[in-house]
């Protein structure tokens, strides 16, 4: 009895699943039809922002920026975090896409390059509006999709070079520096270090004494810097760090070693780094403007969903682009100390105003 | 609470009641009546022997006495008082302690800690160890049995015999909990000891009698009669009688245990073949390894060759080396004319070499797996088609062997660890019989821990195998066994083969002849 009923149950289950799948894709088809016209009632739009975790200030400010935008259009943003776990990110997204997706707008920070493709395919299938930031494999072309509205990232070479130059200037154009790299196999770490190398080429008297990885981590940067300080001693005039967390770790190491003559630069403009720049203990950082990132992805999606902007009207060069970043030093740090968004940045006519050109 | 040894004199006065009495104890397991109304009396200051074949219910009875088994019916009386024993601690409160067959000491603690474990008393104050006090406590216990073990030595660095002493010292701690002389249970205490160590143990047991009652269990009937005052015999979960040890012979006990006279032809002597095919199955030339050098050995098809020697003679390693389990440094071994690869046990298996290890429970079987799976562990082909296990094929094969070897098991799916020792060993042996293409069988103490009945059956099996042309190398449990079973005996001493003694049916040497060669 058991044996006859089990295959039957399996069959029934499978056909149910198949029906559900068919239903889904049908719905999805309807969604993409809507995409061209974009006819959602502004009140029906559902906004979702997803980042690694809220336990770092940068990503927390990103989600805050999303909230600010949502408030400006009388909506709320659903804040999602996945703890840097690819599987969890995909699960959260499939759950979203299993619901009502007609007016769903997602501003997503993919965990890594390889996580982008499935998210894009999912959104395309379900007809949800998607903007991604930071991570995208080079061969994945945004213009081949009509639900993936835009991909925004920053030119890491540029930021690495900007702070490299600022560091060279701070140490008077000559002397030894050390570099703290990020996680070595990430694009961000590679690009930023390439930027430093460009800067070094332009400043021949600055010598790179040592480069080590501290994996973007404050604690690791502290240990590595301590070790390098014992190794190179007073030869070190400056420390180049591929992000602010590592720069802050290096600052701790300098403080513990009683060194006050070393210039430190980083990237990301986290609040503590801004404070340090204000105090004069840190030299420079680069801001990608987290709150703006949190808002802009939702803004682009919102504009398309409500029909104010059509996917066809977005220029190809605005489908995957470098956004503007800002070098912050002591003289302009006050402008960035209180992270805030400017509503005019999110006007549908204005959403691409910070473009520094298409991703080559 | 605590009793000073000096008080023993008072307690020793004729006791009006028995130290321990068991009335009509019953314990049923699914399919098995382990205990079927056992009665037992332990008097004050006596050593009571408990004898019975494997499966007679000895273990169950002892476990019931220390609270590890809850009996279905029956009563336990301690010093005239009916008690319920629910745990080892309960048992200790009533003054009953047991030295377990599988030694139960924590190997990585000191002897002192093991002795006081669970009742540290003044050895620990508010969770903090006071090593001095602990050492003194342990020393007190060790002094009681006159042992000179260093209390602060790590237990796993002690010899088996010393560990046994530690166990006895530990059990004697129950005196701290009761004001009466304790009852100490020794379950197969001699099975892992050498003869000299056994002598020491017996001295201790006799000393114990001065201030305690002892229940002594052993499968060696001569030992039981030697050390006990009285012997109680169990059969099939029932008490079938008791004898005073003085004047009784092992044969008398044996008769009670199996219900008839012990077999005259214990070693199946008549089955020993007189004329041999002179085809040498195993040829060993100049074999050297970690503990042996230059060993030569020939075993013909159908022949049983026993290797004897004292501890350190290297015979165990020779045996294991032939199975590829101990590395060799030099020498040549051929099996049926072909060179035998000694680099791994796998190669040995493939060449038709079977090995029955001494440590049956650890190396010989996979405890939780079924009888059937254990039996077919080596010979996967017999039950498989490709990588798939064919249950029907396995079942019919296994059932045939269960019947043929009369293995007592509820069914072939029973976990092997639930069988008695003799039946476990039969399954292990059957593994090589199932394989069918076995040519050389290495038996490392195949009858260790088995009772007479089970031994006899193992011997019969060995004869059958020899008849079928298998060459056998035997490391016997006793010299008698070696002499009884072997066609030839190789004597080893200090890693060298020193002498070969012919041992044909009807012309057997005496143990004394062999001992002369061994030392």
């Amino acid at each position: 009895m058991k044996f006859t009923s089990r295959p039957a149950a399996v069959l029934a289950g499978l056909s149910l699943a198949a029906m559900a799948l068919a239903g889904c894709s049908e719905e999805g088809g309807g969604g993409s039809a809507a995409a061209a016209s974009g006819s959602c009632d502004p009140a029906d739009v559902k906004l979702v922002g997803q980042v690694h975790n809220e336990s770092n200030p940068y990503e927390a400010s990103w989600l805050d920026g999303g909230d600010a935008f949502a408030e400006s259009v009388d909506l709320t943003q659903e804040r999602l975090t996945y703890d840097g776990d690819s599987t969890r990110q995909q699960e959260q997204i499939s759950q979203l896409l299993a619901g009502d997706t007609d007016c769903l707008v997602m501003n997503i920070l993919p965990n890594g390059d390889s996580d982008t493709a499935p998210i894009v395919e999912g959104a395309q299938e379900a007809g949800a509006y998607l903007v991604t930031q930071w991570n995208k494999p080079a061969d994945l072309d945004v213009t081949e999709y009509d639900q993936w509205l835009s991909h925004i990232t920053y030119n890491g070479i540029e930021s690495g070079k900007q702070i490299g130059d600022a560091l060279a200037e701070a140490i008077g154009g000559s002397g030894g520096i050390i570099a703290l790299q990020g996680i070595l196999d990430t694009g961000a770490a590679k690009d930023r270090f390439a930027g430093l190398e460009e800067s070094l080429a332009a400043n021949p008297d600055v010598e790179l004494l040592d480069d080590q990885t501290a994996n973007f981590s404050r604690a690791e940067a502290l240990e590595v810097t301590k070790t390098l300080l014992t190794k190179h001693g007073d030869d070190i005039k400056g420390i180049w760090a591929a992000n602010d967390d590592m720069a802050l770790g290096a600052l701790e190491a300098l403080q513990q070693a009683g060194r006050t003559d070393v210039a430190v630069v980083g990237i990301d403009a986290v609040p503590d780094a801004l404070t340090a720049i204000e105090d004069g203990t840190m030299t420079a950082t680069v801001s990608s403007d987290g709150p703006w990132q949190g808002g802009i992805g939702l803004a682009i999606g919102y504009c398309v969903a409500t029909g104010e902007l059509s996917v066809d009207d977005i220029a190809d060069e605005d489908r995957a682009w470098y956004a503007e970043q800002f070098l912050i030093e002591q003289d302009n740090v006050a402008d960035f100390s209180a992270p805030a968004t400017d509503e005019s940045d999110f006007d549908c006519d204005n959403v691409f105003s910070r473009s520094q050109g298409p991703i080559s | 609470m605590t009793t000073d040894l000096i008080k023993e004199a008072d307690v020793k006065a004729p006791a009006p009641v028995h130290a321990l009495e068991v009335r009509g104890l019953v314990k049923h397991y699914p399919g098995v009546k382990a205990l079927d109304g056992v009665d037992l009396v332990v008097r004050q200051h006596e050593v009571l022997g408990l004898a019975g074949e494997n499966g007679a219910g000895k273990s169950t009875l002892l476990k019931a006495l220390v609270g590890l088994v809850r009996p279905d019916a029956g009563e336990i009386w301690v010093r005239g008082e009916k008690v319920r024993i629910k745990s080892v601690v309960d048992a200790a409160e009533h003054g009953i302690g047991m030295v377990f067959q599988e030694q139960s000491l924590v190997p990585n603690l000191t002897a002192a800690e093991n002795i006081v474990l669970g009742s540290e008393g003044r050895g620990v104050r508010r969770g903090v160890y006071r090593w001095d006090a602990m050492r003194r406590l342990a020393q007190e216990q060790l002094d009681k049995i006159g042992s000179h073990i260093d209390p602060l030595a790590r237990t796993d660095t002690l010899s088996f015999a010393d560990r046994q002493m530690v166990e006895i010292a530990k059990v004697l701690r129950i005196e701290q909990r009761t004001s009466h002389p304790p009852v100490i249970i020794l379950d197969e205490p001699t099975s892992v000891l050498e003869s000299k160590e056994i002598e020491t143990l017996f001295t201790q047991v006799r000393r114990l009698r001065e201030f305690a009652s002892v229940i002594f269990v052993s499968h060696r009937l001569d030992e039981v009669l030697d050390v006990c005052d009285r012997v109680c015999v169990l059969r099939g979960g029932e008490s079938v009688g008791e004898v005073a040890a003085a004047g009784a012979a092992p044969g008398d006990l044996h008769r009670m245990m199996i219900g008839s006279t012990g077999s005259e032809d214990h070693y199946h002597d008549t089955a020993q073949r007189s004329e041999k095919t002179l085809r040498p199955m195993l040829q060993v030339r100049g074999l050297s390894g970690p503990t042996f050098r230059d060993v030569d050995l020939d075993v013909h098809a159908g022949e049983v060759v026993a290797i004897v020697g004292v501890h350190g003679s290297g015979r165990e390693d020779v045996c294991r080396a032939l199975f590829g389990a101990v590395p060799t440094t030099a020498g040549e071994v051929t099996l049926d004319g072909e060179k035998l690869d000694l680099s791994s046990t796998r190669a040995a298996c493939a060449a038709g070499v079977g090995y029955v290890p001494a440590e049956r429970k650890i190396e010989g079987m996979v405890g939780p797996m079924s009888v059937a799976d254990n039996m077919t562990l080596t010979k996967q082909k017999a039950r498989c088609t490709g990588p798939l296990v064919m249950p029907q094929k396995q079942a019919s094969l296994v059932d045939a062997w269960i019947t043929r070897l009369s293995i007592r098991t509820p069914n072939r799916g029973t976990a092997i660890q639930r069988l008695s020792g003799g039946n476990q060993q039969k399954v292990v042996l059957a593994r090589w019989l199932v394989a069918g293409d076995i040519r050389l069988l290495l038996l490392d103490h195949p009858t260790r821990g088995l009772d007479i009945g089970a031994r006899s059956e193992v011997y019969r099996l060995m004869r059958e195998l020899a008849d079928s042309g298998v060459a056998t190398v035997l490391l016997a449990d006793s010299l008698e066994e070696a002499i009884g079973m072997a066609d030839r005996i190789l004597v080893m001493s200090d890693g060298r083969a020193t002498k070969e003694v012919a041992c044909p049916s009807g012309g057997k040497p005496t143990p004394l002849d062999l001992v002369k060669e061994m030392v």
Binding site: L248 | L117, F160
Partner: protein
């Protein structure tokens, strides 16, 4: 491996009873000395007093975490809760002492509360293990997640930076050439060793790893000791979280990231086996120094950062293999 299998060999060899340190335990310290010698020969920067101080300071946090985890490993359990517990205690202490987020200024009391919180989380691991009979691997992983959750709630988007002079001074001020953190770690090692040697908790942790069933047969209830060992481990993690906060000057959710496996690696390299019952605090501490010297030495010698990860792994595996070499037997089962 169970002991009876070894007994066969023991009887044949009949070793003398021994008390002190055995040859088997000498592997890791010898490896440490050798490694130190090699790096000293290769790099002049390595053999400076300053660098030795640096190595000790760097080893401090890992040493404290490893002290805690050793008690769990001795029992044959495993503990992956360090990242969560350390994160929670780091945030707790950062918010309780003088900081930039609120007006608290509890000083040393704040430190104690943070350690107490960590101990509670450790206790939770232990309770889940003995009450729900869930393997420690799972319970501690769960508790780590709980700890990270608690830490994230306390973090609330703004990094708390500490301004408490005492805690900041721990990482900066020195006594006899070593930072206070190093002295705290040394005290922890001493404390851990005393617990292991002189308390029932420590000895029973050994016994549980050696033969748990024997304890039950002897009428000892092991559950409370298991819970206590996890609680103790939790408090060590808590202190380590405070130490990281002192080093970084801020309470980070990720304060304990990677410390779980780093500590297990250090303990195993030092000779505290995952099977339980072997090794101890001193073994583990040697392991901590081994791992730290290795990391430091590779940087000092100038091995490319792209190679360091691989080289480090290789040397650790080689060190463990060398350490267990004397105990290896043919046909040994390794799981």
């Amino acid at each position: 491996m169970t002991s009876p299998a070894e007994d066969v060999d023991v009887v044949a060899a009949r070793p003398r009873p021994r008390r002190g340190v055995s040859f088997r335990d000498a592997g890791p310290p010898v490896a440490l000395v050798v490694m130190f010698g090699v790096f000293s020969a290769l790099s002049a920067d390595f053999r400076t007093i300053g660098n030795v101080q640096n190595i000790m300071d760097t080893a401090a946090v890992l040493a404290v975490v490893t002290c805690g985890i050793t008690f769990v490993l001795l029992m044959g359990s495993i503990d992956l809760s360090a990242p969560g517990v350390m994160g929670a205690s780091a945030l707790a202490v950062a918010l309780l002492v003088a900081n930039n987020r609120n007006d608290n200024d509890l000083g040393i009391i704040g430190v104690l509360v943070a350690i107490l919180l960590a101990a509670a989380l450790g206790c939770l691991s232990g309770l889940a293990l003995v009450l729900l009979k869930v393997p420690s691997f799972m319970t501690t992983l769960g508790v780590s997640a709980i700890g990270l959750g608690v830490a994230t709630l306390m973090f609330a988007g703004v990094q708390p930076n500490i301004t408490d002079a005492m805690i900041e001074s721990w990482a900066v001020d020195r006594f006899l050439g070593f930072s206070y953190l190093t002295w705290i770690a040394a005290t922890c090692v001493l404390l851990g060793w005393s617990i292991q040697r002189y308390t029932r908790l420590g000895r029973y942790a050994f016994a549980i790893g050696g033969a748990e069933e024997v304890l039950s047969l002897s009428g000892v209830k092991v559950a409370p000791y298991k819970v206590a060992a996890f609680t103790l481990a939790g408090s060590f993690y808590g202190l380590a979280g405070v130490m990281v906060t002192s080093q970084l000057g801020a309470g980070l959710v990720q304060a304990g990231k990677g410390y779980d496996f780093a500590a297990i690696t250090a303990a195993v390299v030092g000779g505290t086996l995952l099977t339980g019952g072997r090794g101890g605090i001193l073994h583990s501490t040697v392991g901590v120094l081994l791992v730290t010297v290795l990391t430091n030495g590779l940087v000092q010698v100038g091995v490319s950062p792209y190679w360091q990860g691989g080289v480090q792994g290789l040397i650790v595996v080689a060190a463990v293999a060398a350490a267990v070499l004397p105990q290896r037997r043919r046909n040994q089962v390794t799981k």
